[in-house]
Amino acid sequence: MAFYRAHVLVDTGTPAVLKGALAVKSALIEELKRRGLDKEIKVVETGDLGLHNAGCGVVIYPEGVTYANVTTDFVPLIVEEHLLKGRPVEKLLYKEDQPSVVTAAESPRCNEMRVILKNIGVIDPNSIDEYIAHGGYEGLVKALTTMTPDQVINEVKASQLKGRGGAGFPTGLKWEFTAKAAGSDKAIVCNADEGEPGNFKDRLILEGDPHQIIEGMVIAAYAVGANEGYIYIRGEYHQSVEHTEKALKAAREMGFLGKNILDTGLDFDISIFKGAGAYICGEETALLESLEGKRGESRMKPPFPPTYGLRGMPTVVNNVETFAAIPHILAKGAEWYCSIGTGQSKGTKIFSPCGDVLYPGVYEVPFGITLREIIYNMAGGIKSGKDLKAVLMGGPSGVMVGKDALDRKLCAEDLNPGAGALIVLDEDKCIVDLMQNIAQFFYHESCGQCTPCREGCKRMLEVFNWWTAGAGSEDDIALLEQLATTMSLTSKCGLGQFAGVAFKSSLPLFMDEYRAHLKDKVCPTGVCSMDKVLEEVK
């Protein structure tokens, strides 16, 4: 193996790529070659460094110096000054008042506990060697060579790992159902159709450390006896697809995928399937329909996928984050995993605070942390220095909580965090405007299959449109509440069931603001155009 005196890590997460990271990477390689440094310094692509609003980030090891907002113009300067002369370029340094001086994993700004994200920004996601060097495929080798499938399932059950896609179904139980289901052909499906607004954790894992998913899925395949695997990746996640494809190829070459894996007799391979942009396909049964080439519509349940899944096969469908946790549980044991978290929520959870916070991003923490710690200690508090108004837990389909929930713990027994998005709103935001925005989203994404969701989302949007235009009436509140109740009680799948949840949970918090819109025809925050409409009328 070649020895390099320095490694230059280029952040090639999607936000950085949009800021020109790939050009920076090529320019670095060219410049090093031009100066004859390419044999002693290596340029490496890495996952999202978590440098927020800081353009393309570059980290230089062994010093661990981080540069922000790097463009191709600065490349000769960095090479000349830092790599040749050993003097960090002061003006490009990631500043102290900004988070993360080095890498997110070593960041002093927070109490992050990185288990799943530990390799992100550290290793080259396209190198299986680096993954293995950081403990990768240890869990797989241990599971496949020293444990029986039952023991694997029992270990996962003992870890009390729950699905990280939002619903929180016990993973071990799901695997057990699938293992015990009749039928010799079974399938493992990874739900990477991360569509819930505000969530971007799965993207980070797939871009920054895709081997974890493969490892988790192979362990699952061994546990339940599956031969087919699919990763259903959101269509817009080009880099996730690219990195995962490379990872699959490398894993195949290493013998972690394919025929007779590790001489255990297990035949298992994974294909990537790209979604086409429908939010509904993140619902597991709609995802399966889509995977079968059909219209993305949820199925009736029961039967659930563990008994009747892909093409009728017993199927495990798990979220990216869930599969990513598996190798660690197998490698370090369920006992270790259970030592993290709370009574009902074990392990770590990846949160993605966004909206009006200073440092939106991805943070991995143990369950049980308070909302305040994430928003104020990690995400830097409210961007504008203003007051917090509300937080949407998990995204538009989650409940809305107000300021009084800041000290609640994020775990199943207190405040359920859903898939992990925390959409933070400051006091300038109008609640009706927000509801209209959410209603627009569900109206657009409803698959149209069942009546309450198809028609209900439309009517809900219409009513909010009227409210923001000053055309609402107080009676509408009761009507909408009843509609939201019907939708949550009778919709066929989660989409419709949760479309009205934010509104219902916002009612006790912001009744005065709703009344102001409906009775006094005033938008207290001045967001709704109704004020303009009314002024024009005057």
């Binding site: 219209r295 994404e445 698959c447 149209g448 009546t451 309450p452 009778t490």
Partner: protein, 592 residues
């Protein structure tokens, strides 16, 4: 299946595991409203009307597809359930044209019934309503997408029962729309015109293309001689349109009613059914003895014919060249009948009353003009014929009986059973046995080919030959048989009867609604009863048919027969069925 104990509304009920809540409740006499559920189709659970409360569940459960389990406790009409159901219906109505009074489905609409049941008196959502153009392109089915509530029954019947899949959803969410093909007109896609979608539609979104106005005009035109033929299946079902229970035979009353309507002659398609047996039976014997494509497939069902033309054109040589009884009748009416009566065929208006919407397409086929005119001018479905009777104030159940008119009025029991699955086969075997062996058939009722299974097979000894026969109904079953012919499983079969619709013609797309297996069985029972009451039960003994041969056709498969009673088929290309591909969906929105 294990026995489980379920409690519904506090009542202890024994059920089988695997049954749905709806099945268990219905068996126990507990009513749960439904809309997208249909007993013929796999439940889909999309309308959500059948929501019930199941103890321990976070949400309500749809009874139509939720399986019972031991110890389950269900409540069907709690305030929570009733409020949810009312809200769902209100949502449907908010997007439904409020034109019940002028709707073809008025008083037969399941949505209307539901709104009434739930006492909906106001629709609180007053917003946009989707507005679409009607699709009037098909000779058989009129689509009115505005009235569609997206229950998906038409899609499922076309897909699962008929394996045609002409209809499917496009767009998403509130803009979801059921369309033929990829937003084409119905006439431009692979549709076999069977009308099963109409029979399953709960609202007025799908209806038959009704020619009644033109028929009224002809009846009241003194220059026109308007004759009508009635298909075998109609007599066993038209009573339902007048409130009689399914399976009530009203043959004589129907004839009286049609005479009261003003038809100049009321004759029977059964007559040409007997004729079909003579021709098709002779064709079969000829194919067996002289060599020809076997198995011979029946050709009476126009939906089925269009199906094989699209999907299995390679097997068209196996299809009997006989026209359907309707078209044989039409060809003879404007030749033999016109000559006999001394009427100019140009003045004859030939109407048929059929259980079938595909017949509307069949009479339009270019080859169906062997009389020199359009052989059959108009096809009325059973429903549409009843509609004319009602408009004329005719109270069918209380009418006296009348006899059919000559010369096509004398018929046999063998012809009546053409109306249900297995009937053509049985009629053919009755005649073939006697013609081939020269011996009298003692047991006229050939049970081996009766029944409701989708595909039935039988071997019948006819003289030296063991005739291997099969019967299929519903096109998904027909597809199995045709694939069996292709792969050799049905290679040594002689004769296969195929009917397009489930149960045969009695389950046709023009029949009264609702439809279900029970209703179809009741109609079939009536058909067999009618057969039992007939004096003559074998087609070759029909004296009027024999007279027709003597006076006009000479003998089966004669030159004249070939000219008038036989036809040919067209291989259809599924790809070019769509003449107007990529047409954008017409979406207009109306503000209220």
């Amino acid at each position: 299946m294990a026995e489980v104990n379920v409690k519904i509304n506090g009542q202890d009920i024994k059920a089988q595991s695997g049954q749905t809540i709806l099945e268990v409740a219905r068996a126990a006499g507990i009513y749960i409203p439904t809309l997208c559920y249909h007993s013929d189709l796999m439940p889909d659970g999309v309308c959500r009307i059948c929501a019930v409360e199941v103890k321990g569940q976070r949400t309500l459960c749809t009874a139509c597809c939720y399986p019972v389990s031991d110890g389950m406790e269900v409540q069907t009409h709690t305030p929570k359930v009733r409020e949810a159901r009312r809200m769902i219906v209100e949502l449907m109505l908010a997007n439904h044209p409020q034109e019940c009074l002028t709707c073809a489905k008025n008083q037969k609409c399941e949505l209307q019934k539901l709104a009434k049941e739930l006492g909906i008196q106001d629709v609180r959502f007053k917003g946009e309503r989707r507005v679409y153009d009607r699709d009037l392109t098909s000779p058989s089915v009129i689509r009115d997408p505005e009235k569609c509530i997206l229950c998906g029954r038409c899609v499922r019947v076309c897909d699962d029962i008929q394996s045609v899949a002409a209809l499917n959803p496009v767009n998403r969410g509130w803009n979801t729309l059921i369309v033929p093909g990829m937003c084409d007109d119905l006439a431009d896609v692979v549709c076999v015109n069977c009308g099963q979608c109409i029979n399953r539609c709960p609202t007025g979104a799908l209806k038959g293309n009704d020619p009644a106005p033109a028929i009224w005009e002809a009846i009241h035109d003194p220059k026109k001689h308007v004759i009508v033929q009635t298909a075998p299946a109609v007599r066993a079902s038209i009573g339902e349109e007048f409130g009689l229970p399914p399976g009530t035979r009203v043959t004589g009353k129907m004839v009286t009613a049609l005479k009261m309507l003003g038809f100049d002659r009321v004759m029977d398609t059964d007559f040409t059914a007997d004729l079909t047996i003579m021709e098709e039976g002779s064709e079969l014997i000829q194919r067996i003895t002289e060599g020809g494509a076997l198995p011979q497939l029946t050709s009476c069902s126009p939906g089925w014919i269009k199906f094989i033309e699209y999907y299995f054109p390679d097997l068209l040589p196996n299809v009997s060249s006989c026209k359907s009884p309707q078209q044989m009748f039409g060809a003879l009416a404007k030749t033999y009948y016109a000559q006999k009566m001394g009427i100019d065929p140009a003045d004859i208006v030939s109407v048929s009353i059929m259980p079938c919407t595909a017949k509307k397409f069949e009479c339009e086929r270019p080859e169906m003009t062997s009389s020199g005119y359009k052989d059959v001018d108009y096809v009325l479905t059973t429903r549409e014929a009843a509609g004319m009777m009602k408009e004329a104030g005719i109270d069918l159940p209380n009418l006296p009986d009348s006899e059919y008119d000559d010369p096509f009025g004398v018929t046999t029991g063998a012809a009546v059973i053409f109306g249900n699955t297995g009937g053509v086969m049985e009629a053919a075997l009755r005649t073939a046995y006697e013609l081939v062996t020269g011996q009298k058939l003692d047991e006229v009722n050939i049970q081996a080919v009766r029944g409701m299974e989708g595909v039935r097979e039988a071997s019948v000894q006819v003289g030296d030959i063991t005739v291997k026969a099969a019967v299929a109904h519903g096109l998904a079953n027909a597809r199995k048989v045709l694939e069996g012919i292709r792969d050799g499983r049905f290679k040594d079969y002689h004769f296969i009867e195929i009917m397009c619709c489930p149960g045969g013609c009695i389950g046709g797309g023009g029949q009264p609604q609702p439809t279900s297996e029970e209703i179809r069985k009741a109609r079939i029972k009536a058909i067999y009863e009618e057969d039992e009451t007939m004096k003559i039960r074998k087609s070759h003994e029909n004296p009027a048919v024999l007279k027709l041969y003597e006076e006009f056709l000479e003998k089966p498969l004669s030159h004249k027969s070939h000219e008038l009673l036989h036809t040919h088929y067209t291989a259809r290309d599924r790809k070019t069925a769509r003449k107007t591909a990529d047409k954008p969906v017409k979406v207009k929105v109306e503000k209220s």
